[in-house]
Subunit: 462 residues, 2 copies
């Protein structure tokens, strides 16, 4: 099996280096099913490993072919070894979430070997509260395809009694898939949010590459924002730190209702306050506000700021986070205003302009070598914050309740931090992926986020 690799996937393969692995990841936390025994994690691992036929997507790896003049092609791994890809791991004592995040940081910081299919999944036991974790990682060159999304979507069920769901990498007839309750539920299922969306947050659709050359010089108001230089915007290293936590969406909704803002505004304000505290502690807070790139669906309604409504058609808004403001309420207000202005600017742009701006925002790591634009444009923002709606109802993996799902994204040169949030079952799950060396003590952002949520509640009087 030899197949050509599409240009977008090639771009992700070429852009990858030791400092910038181009895989996305997902961390999922599960509660064991009722009556599960001590060896439940082992059983789950065996379920994931003992797959009769692997889907082609999970069997192929890139190779430079002499026959095609040195072009990268996909070839099937003739010595595919499932035990290399599906692994059973355990956490050191005391088995706190901290040890889990350490392991995920380490796994996410290691490049996938290009001589093998570009994915890994780890069933992780040893959390002291008995929960089971699954960390999955897949190269951006693979996850872009519609077939990948379809495969990943159908592994969870809303039925707690459903068993014998196949592994995401198993080849299976369509009939095995869970019948979608409604179309929305399918496109936003949990695995998609964990894996696919963090890909989208840095993704560069092929169409963007093609149109960008024509339109890069059409400056837009959204691009001409001033973003201060910060420690976030440096050359990064290959060391990763992953931090994750969730909060009840109800708390954010209450703040939004009391202040006339959206849940997404509250999420951005939480990030703003947390970044302000974090940078202050490092004595690195710039005088002017941080600017965040926020991906939005191109056809998004005013009320729904999401990049998840199908395909790669995402635009981006440059949001002033108000990190220069001392008061939490002022920051929330600044974010709300900036989002509203951004959406208005976006609606006044032509589709080509939107595509070009989005491409600039989303993939400088790829565009820089591809189009030699370095110096032509300056980085228009300081960090990326994505908020992607996920399933609203409880989902199960063969009876194990999914408790939370946290995306791991791709930091790149000049963009050392990526915050991706996803909603699931009444909770907003934050996944923070950063370069450990560029951003010391990244995990502190979690308590800063918590503090900021409390401060916003207080400010809103809820």
């Amino acid at each position: 099996m030899v197949n050509p690799i599409d240009p977008t996937a090639v771009a992700f393969l070429m852009a990858e280096n030791r400092r910038m692995p181009m895989h996305v990841g997902g961390l999922q936390l599960f509660r064991k099913p009722e009556g599960a025994g001590r060896s439940y994690a082992t059983e789950l691992y065996h379920q994931m490993r003992d797959v009769e036929t692997i889907a082609p997507l999970f069997l192929k790896h890139p190779k430079r072919s002499i026959r095609t003049g040195g072009q990268l092609v996909w070839v099937e791994d003739e010595q595919f070894d499932i035990e290399h890809h599906v692994r059973h791991s355990a956490l050191p004592k005391p088995g706190r979430v901290r040890e889990l995040l350490d392991l995920c940081s380490r796994l996410h910081g290691t490049r996938l070997a290009p001589e093998r299919p570009l994915w890994e999944a780890h069933v992780i036991e040893g959390l002291r509260d008995g929960r089971i974790a699954m960390y999955t990682k897949i190269h951006h060159a693979l996850v872009d395809g519609v077939s990948a999304m379809r495969l990943l979507q159908s592994v969870l069920s809303t039925d707690p009694d459903r068993r014998d769901m196949p592994a995401p990498w198993a080849l299976r007839p369509r009939a095995v898939q869970d019948p979608p309750a409604n179309a929305d539920e399918v496109t936003t299922s949990a695995l998609r949010t964990a894996l696919g969306i963090s890909a989208e947050a840095v993704g560069l659709p092929g169409a963007m590459v093609r149109t960008l050359r024509k339109s890069v010089r059409n400056e837009t108001s959204a691009l001409s924002l001033y973003a201060p230089r910060t420690i976030l915007n440096q050359t990064i290293t290959g060391s990763r730190r992953f931090a994750a936590q969730d909060w009840p969406i109800e708390r954010m909704r209450a703040i939004g209702k009391a202040t006339g803002t959206t849940i997404n505004d509250v999420v951005l304000a939480m990030c703003s306050g947390a970044m302000r505290t974090y940078l202050s502690e490092l004595d690195a807070l710039p005088d002017s506000t941080l600017v965040s790139m926020v991906p939005v669906g191109l056809n998004a309604k005013q009320s729904q700021l999401a990049s998840a409504d199908g395909g790669n058609a995402v635009g981006s808004i440059m949001v002033k986070l108000g990190t220069d403001l001392d008061d939490p309420a002022d920051r929330l207000s600044a974010v709300h205003t900036s989002m509203r202005d951004g959406k208005e600017a976006l609606s006044s742009m032509t589709p080509v302009q939107i595509l070009a701006m989005s491409a600039l925002g989303q993939a400088p790591a790829i565009l820089t070598p591809l189009l030699r634009m370095q110096g032509l444009v300056r980085p228009p923002y300081n960090l990326i914050i994505s908020n992607v709606p996920g399933p609203r109802t409880t989902h199960y993996l063969n009876g194990a309740q999914l408790l939370g799902t946290y995306p791991l994204s791709i930091p790149i040169d000049g963009m050392a931090l990526n915050i991706t949030c996803t909603s699931y079952d009444g909770h907003m799950c934050f996944g923070l992926t950063g370069c450990r060396r560029t951003l010391p003590h990244l995990q502190r952002l979690l308590s800063h986020l918590d503090d900021e949520l409390t401060a916003l509640e207080k400010a809103a009087g809820v």
Copy 2:
């Protein structure tokens, strides 16, 4: 820092591919010091990780340099990340030796990323009996150097109260090193046996490469042995299985005394009987005997069959294992005769012949591409069995008693199994490294070895 890579190291780097990672490994088992708390593994991990200055050997990685015309050179890793190299891992429940060997198999089957320094060390907790394990892996291109050996040798102490010994990869003044009780103790310290010796067992000294071209056609009696084709002698895959166990040397010594054979003869006879049972169960036992390559020190006394007496000056003897014989006593006798004949043949060879023969035996994976000898000579043996003397006294790592040390070696195409034994503190530690796909249920060899030792005792009347 840019340094040329010596030709032998280049050979190991070039010969490496996905099917044949060219690193050696060592598994060490420790008992926690008296009074060690619950977090002892974490403390040990921190000791290993928090190293002030890393020795240059552990900082360099290979790179193709444009300035030197595409030659491979060593460059210092400018983004060296100790947390990538020194890791803290845990075993899934129930934490038996089986789970430990599974983890080591997985770690040993993964290639070191050439973009980073070529080593890893894992502090492993979770064994249910409370022991702590350490798996260390290092590329053969590094371990060949004398400086590597020196660094690795001095990390253990015979003094249980000695603390603050540096990590093997720490740069340290000579004065910090343990004063050698005697020279023998230094050259055979435990880390050397675990890591260095398994390297030697497949090693190809630079001198051999240089002399081989002249002498390859000087056939020797040792080379003209007939080795049957077996499942051991196929193209292999990158999947690894590691099995390890130890037995009291006293049991082997007793058999040797009763039968007029050496401890090494008994070790080989154990392997012979175990291989016979293993291959029979797979219905793959050849009619004629398996032939094993056994490395010996070039200056070895008649009584000491070791490759460990300094440097890379190792010869090899082709030993008929007697796997065609039904009786354990007959197999021991056949091994003894074959070893004696081999040593006599070796003593009658010229140094160049010995070097050439040794090189043929030791590194077909490297010689094949280097000298294009494929077809010129047929594989003269079926497997490699090395037996390397280690320290005779109890050693400690900062107070933790070393209980056993097991080498992980390098299976190659045509040689799917490598058995390396090392003695330590009254025990003979066996490390079996094989291709998991070529050799199913490799771990069964452990119980076969155990059965064979018992059978030999019975046959010898001890």
